[in-house]
Each structure stands twice: as structure tokens, then as C-alpha cells.
């Protein structure tokens, strides 16, 4: 499935809109602590902005995104998650017990790192799945 860029109106609107969608996605990831949201929802919003771009700009740019890079990005998110858990293990507490992290508010910071890891993984995984669907013919 390859798709030519949409009309100029759609392209300019989407091109103006995408940064704000991505900013909102980042906001949702980072503010999972005090407002509804978190890693999953933010990651999906970021992935949606990538798909919006494909609908507007056509599929040629997503073909150039190298697939191993996306898979590696997906695995780094989970590695970050397991890494934070492993760090707690190394610092002498149970796996994923953030109270030993060297921060003022260890649990809150630990959870923030977790949310970032989840956000990266969800975003990269959904873009990778979408890219596979685009490349498949």
C-alpha cells in the first residue's frame, strides 16, 4: 500500500498540527502522576501523530525509517523498565522496589522513569506495526 501525499490543504494543516499533537502526547506521558494519563495513553497519541503524518504526507517517508531502528527503540523502552527494576535489585531491594533509588522522592521518580519507558515502547511498537502494514504488499 503506497499512498501519494494528500492535497495541499490537508498537508499544511497536518504539518502545523502534528507538533501540537506530539507535545500533548509528551504532556500525557509526563503528567501521568497528577492527571489521567500515563505511558500507554501518551505513547498511543505519539503513534497517532506519526500515522497522521503518513496519511497527509504519503507513505514514502515511513518506508525510509529503518525497521531495525524501530524494533530497537521498542526494546529500549522495555529495557529501561526492566533496567529500573534491576537497579532496585542491585541496590539491595526487591525487583521494582523504588524506595532504594537515590532520589528525594524515590517512588515518584521511579514511576516517572517507568512511564517514559512505557511511552517509548508503545509509540515505537505501534509505529513499527503500522510500518509493517504499509510495507506489506
Amino acid at each position: 500500500m503506497n499512498r501519494e501525499p494528500a492535497g495541499v490543504v490537508v498537508r499544511t494543516v497536518c504539518r502545523r498540527l502534528t507538533p501540537f499533537v506530539q507535545l500533548f502526547g509528551l504532556y500525557v506521558i509526563m503528567h501521568g502522576h497528577s492527571s489521567p494519563g500515563g505511558g500507554f495513553q501518551g505513547g498511543v497519541i505519539l503513534a497517532a501523530s506519526a500515522i497522521l503524518l503518513v496519511l497527509a504526507e504519503g507513505t514514502d517517508w515511513i518506508r525510509r525509517v529503518s525497521l531495525p531502528a524501530l524494533t530497537v527503540l521498542t526494546s529500549t523502552g522495555v529495557l529501561l523498565y526492566a533496567g529500573v527494576g534491576g537497579l532496585c535489585l542491585a541496590l539491595g531491594a526487591n525487583f521494582l522496589d523504588y524506595s532504594v533509588l537515590p532520589f528525594a522522592e524515590p517512588r515518584s521518580v521511579g514511576m516517572l522513569l517507568i512511564e517514559i519507558g512505557v511511552g517509548i515502547t508503545v509509540m515505537a511498537a505501534l509505529v513499527s506495526i503500522f510500518r509493517d502494514l504499509v510495507m506489506f504488499e
Partner: protein, 504 residues
């Protein structure tokens, strides 16, 4: 509170997970290192499982509070000797098949080595987690990881594999959804997800219909995952269309783990008296197991395709395990659990044999196995040993698990089940001996003209490569060792966990 408990329980799940995450990075950066690192991950997981087994046998069950939160608020890992027996079984089998699949699967799809081993290790993560967790919802998450990886691996076989994989997706998801529904129903009545906490609260609620219906849907969901007879329609297509190494992997692990989940929840979360007296679940399971044993074997006899025959034989062997659970006495329970271990090795070995034959000769029809013993002696010998174990001939493990099942049936006074076990073994002898006949004594079989051109008229030794033979020999050795040391296994791993409340 940061209590540091020995980290073995979580390491068994963490090592395969981290290895599977590292593989894509390796595949992008330095490709040749992917297979060695994957093997190293599997080997270290196996080692950790053996250490866990030693610790549990010596020091009793291991507990681990994830995140440092005590249950029922946090998630708990609880590894008793039943869990650790499954852990060692699963990690050993997946290690052997991991070596085997290097040639067998990747010959057809060389470009996919990185995603294949990533998904492979994720399957091991799912299995290890499923067996260690003591939290009902965490078990659902690991069940889904195991299922998702199985769907992807089944679809790797050429041709109709994608259709069988899709049918497996639909039925597998129905099973998992029924399990989730059961967790929802039990949660609505108890408010907790931790197994030990549930076991404490549930006895007071045995009369409530919600708990009853929840348990009924749990059994249906797990039976679908276990391919128990009426709900087995996904199994023949999935096993026979998947690459042989994947068939061996799935036949030896996913259905066994589903049987473990049935035992874990039925006897350890609910008290045995619930499924014996309150609702006759064990009686229903015993009869469904018997029907599976007979009809599975009958259908296996009629097959021409070797792997499809093995698939229907799996449906029958699951019947043994369910019968063991259904007998609801100590001998039956021991026989059922022992048969989980034995069948994993037996059926894994048989599918590895099928893979070696397809790899070297491309033949799938049993008729095409004419004097294979000359052409592939080691493969034929492995098949013979696995066949003996399936039928239950003494030195092999299969004999002992059938012996315990028969003793259990006698203790339960159910002579009809003894007859069913013997009849099913005879049927197994029929379809396995038929293959042996082609392999070893082809001369007295009339060469029907339209049979596949027999690849081995000129008897030249042409064995499978060593990376395939090694695991097959190891599995064969495992079957014999299971037979010799079955007393040890029962005494150290099964007896300590026989649930109180089962009949004598």
C-alpha cells in the same frame, strides 16, 4: 519496606526477558552474535531453574514480593516444588529445542533469525512467569505472552500455517477471555487477586452461584487452552502446519502449562472438596479425559500425515493428564503430574524426529518412511524409544505415569478407567507400530505403486546435522532418565505438594 528476598524466583523470568530485548539490538549491530546469545540466555535460565529447584527441595517454597509490596496488595511469586518441577522441565525442553531449531526452522526463513529467537525467548519468559506467579491476573498476562508468541511461531510454517494460526488465535483468545472472566467473577465476590488470599476467603463462598459460574468458566477456558477433547479443534492444524521445531516446542510446553494452571487453581486456590463434593467437576473431567484418550487415539490411527497423527495423539495424551486430575486421589494426582513431565519429553522427541525426517528427506507421509532405519538410524532409534514411552514400556518414564494412573483408578474403584487406560495404550501401540513397521521392516509391506517415491531405496546413511541430532539424543536420554529416577521425582517434587483433601 525494602526486604531483600533471594532473587532466584524473579531471575528465572527476568533473564529470558532481558535476553529477548537484547537480541534486536544485537541483530542490528552484530548479527552473527544473535544465535549464541540466545542460546546463552536459554542455558542461564535453565541453570537458574535448576538452582531454584535445589533451593526449593532443600529449603521449601520460595516467596518473592514484587516491588517490595506484600500480598494481597502487591504481586507475589510463590515457587513450590510443583512450580519448580515445571520450571526445570520447561527450561530444559526449550533449551534443547532452541539448539534444534537453528537448522530446522531457519533453513526455510534465514532472514528471520533475529525476530524468531526474540519471540522464542519471549515464549520462555511467558512460560517461566506463568509457572511462578501466585497472582491470578499476573497469570493472565503471562498466559497472553505465551499465547501471542505461539500464534506467531505457528504461522511460520508455509502454506496453510497462517490459516491454522488464525484459528488458533480465535480459539486461544476465547480461552484466555474465559479465564479473565473467571478472574473478574471471583474478584467481584472476594475483592482480591492473590491466590493465597483467595484460598483463605473462598471456602466461605462455596455456596454462591457467582463463584460456581466463575469456576465453571475457568475450567472451560483452561480446557480450551489445554485442547481437552471437545475443545481441541485448533490443535491438529496448529501442530501439523507449524515448522516441526515449533510443533515440538508448543506440544511440549503450552498445553502442559495450561494443565498446570488447572491443577494450581483447582487444588490450591479452591480446596479439592469444592470440585469433588460441591460440584462434581472431577468426575466430569475424568470422563472427558477418558473420551479424549479413546477418540484421540482412534483419530490418530486414521492419519497418513505423520505430524497430524502426532497431533491427534497429543489430544489423547492430554486425556491422561485430565484423567489423573479427575481421579481426585493421591495416585491419580501423582500420575497426572508425572504424565505432564513425561508427555512433554515424549511428544517433544517425536516432533523432533518428524522435523529431522522432513529436513533430510522432505517426506511427511508415513508411507514414505520405508527403511528409514538404514538411512537415518539415530532418528529411527529416537522414534522407537519415544514410541516405547508413549505405549508405556517399563524402562521409560511413560510406563510409570500410566502405572500411577492405573493405581489411582483402582483406588478410586473405577475399573472402567483402568480399561480405558489399557485400551488407549493398545491403540497407541497400533498407530506407533504402524510407523515402526515402515521404518524397520519395509520388505513385508507391499510397495503400493502410487506411494511417494521412497527416498531410501539405495540405503545410504544420511543423518540430520548434529545440531538436530544432539537435542534428539538428549530428549531420548531424558525419557530414560525420567523412567529410572521417577521415584526420586515423585518423592522430592510431587509428594510434598499433594493437596490435602484428595482421596487415598
Amino acid at each position: 519496606m525494602n526486604v531483600q528476598q533471594s532473587a532466584i524466583p524473579v531471575l528465572v523470568v527476568l533473564i529470558p526477558l532481558v535476553t529477548s530485548l537484547v537480541l534486536p539490538v544485537l541483530g542490528w549491530w552484530y548479527r552473527p552474535a544473535v544465535f549464541p546469545v540466545a542460546l546463552a540466555g536459554l542455558a542461564v535460565t535453565c541453570g537458574t531453574a535448576i538452582i531454584a529447584a535445589y533451593t526449593v527441595v532443600v529449603g521449601g517454597p520460595l516467596h518473592y514480593y514484587l516491588g517490595g509490596w506484600a500480598p494481597p496488595w502487591g504481586i507475589e511469586f510463590r515457587i513450590d516444588s510443583l512450580s519448580v518441577l515445571m520450571l526445570v522441565l520447561l527450561t530444559v525442553i526449550t533449551l534443547l529445542i532452541g539448539i534444534y531449531s537453528k537448522h530446522s526452522v531457519l533453513k526455510e526463513i534465514p532472514s528471520k533469525e533475529v525476530p524468531f529467537y526474540t519471540v522464542y525467548l519471549l515464549l520462555v519468559t511467558g512460560l517461566a512467569g506463568l509457572v511462578s506467579t501466585a497472582d491470578m491476573f499476573n497469570l493472565y498476562v503471562f498466559l497472553e505472552i505465551t499465547s501471542l508468541t505461539s500464534y506467531a511461531l505457528v504461522s511460520l510454517g508455509g502454506g496453510a500455517a497462517v490459516v491454522s494460526a488464525f484459528r488458533y488465535v480465535i480459539l486461544g483468545t476465547v480461552g484466555a477471555a474465559f479465564y479473565l472472566l473467571a478472574v473478574g467473577y471471583l474478584y467481584s465476590m472476594t475483592g482480591t487477586l492473590n491466590m493465597a488470599d483467595l484460598a483463605r476467603i473462598l471456602p466461605g463462598l462455596y455456596s454462591s452461584t457467582t463463584v460456581l459460574v466463575g469456576f465453571a468458566f475457568f475450567v472451560i477456558g483452561v480446557s480450551i487452552k489445554m485442547a481437552l477433547f471437545p475443545m481441541h479443534s485448533w490443535l491438529p492444524g496448529a501442530y501439523s502446519d507449524a515448522p516441526s521445531a515449533v510443533s515440538a516446542l508448543i506440544a511440549a510446553t503450552t498445553t502442559k502449562v495450561a494443565a498446570y494452571v488447572l491443577i494450581r487453581v483447582m487444588f490450591f486456590v479452591f480446596e479439592p472438596r469444592f470440585s469433588i463434593d460441591v460440584i462434581p467437576v472431577t468426575t466430569v473431567l475424568a470422563w472427558m479425559g477418558s473420551i479424549a484418550m479413546i477418540l484421540g487415539s482412534v483419530m490418530a490411527i486414521g492419519q497418513h500425515d505423520f505430524k497430524r497423527m502426532l497431533a491427534y495423539s497429543s489430544v489423547a495424551q492430554i486425556g491422561y493428564i485430565v484423567l489423573g486430575v479427575g481421579l481426585a486421589n493421591e495416585m491419580g494426582f501423582t500420575g497426572g503430574v508425572l504424565h505432564i513431565v513425561n508427555h512433554a519429553f515424549m511428544k517433544g522427541g517425536l516432533f523432533l524426529v518428524a522435523g529431522a525426517i522432513v529436513y533430510r528427506t522432505g517426506v511427511r507421509e508415513i508411507r514414505g518412511f520405508r527403511n528409514l532405519s538404514g538411512k537415518m538410524p539415530v532418528t529411527a532409534a529416537t522414534f522407537t524409544l519415544c514410541a516405547f514411552a508413549m505405549v508405556g514400556i517399563p524402562p521409560t518414564g511413560g510406563f510409570f505415569s500410566k502405572l500411577y494412573l492405573i493405581l489411582g483408578a483402582i483406588n478410586a474403584g473405577q475399573w472402567v478407567f483402568v480399561a480405558v487406560i489399557v485400551l488407549s495404550s493398545v491403540l497407541a501401540l497400533a498407530y506407533l507400530f504402524n510407523v515402526l513397521r515402515f521404518m524397520y521392516f519395509p520388505r513385508d509391506i507391499p510397495l503400493d505403486p502410487e506411494a511417494h517415491p521412497s527416498p531410501s531405496d539405495t540405503i545410504t546413511r544420511d543423518e540430520a546435522p548434529w545440531t538436530m541430532l544432539g537435542p534428539m539424543i538428549a530428549v531420548a536420554a531424558g525419557i530414560v532418565l525420567l523412567g529410572l529416577f521417577n521415584g526420586e521425582i515423585v518423592r522430592r517434587f510431587i509428594e510434598p505438594v499433594i493437596p490435602v483433601g484428595l482421596g487415598r
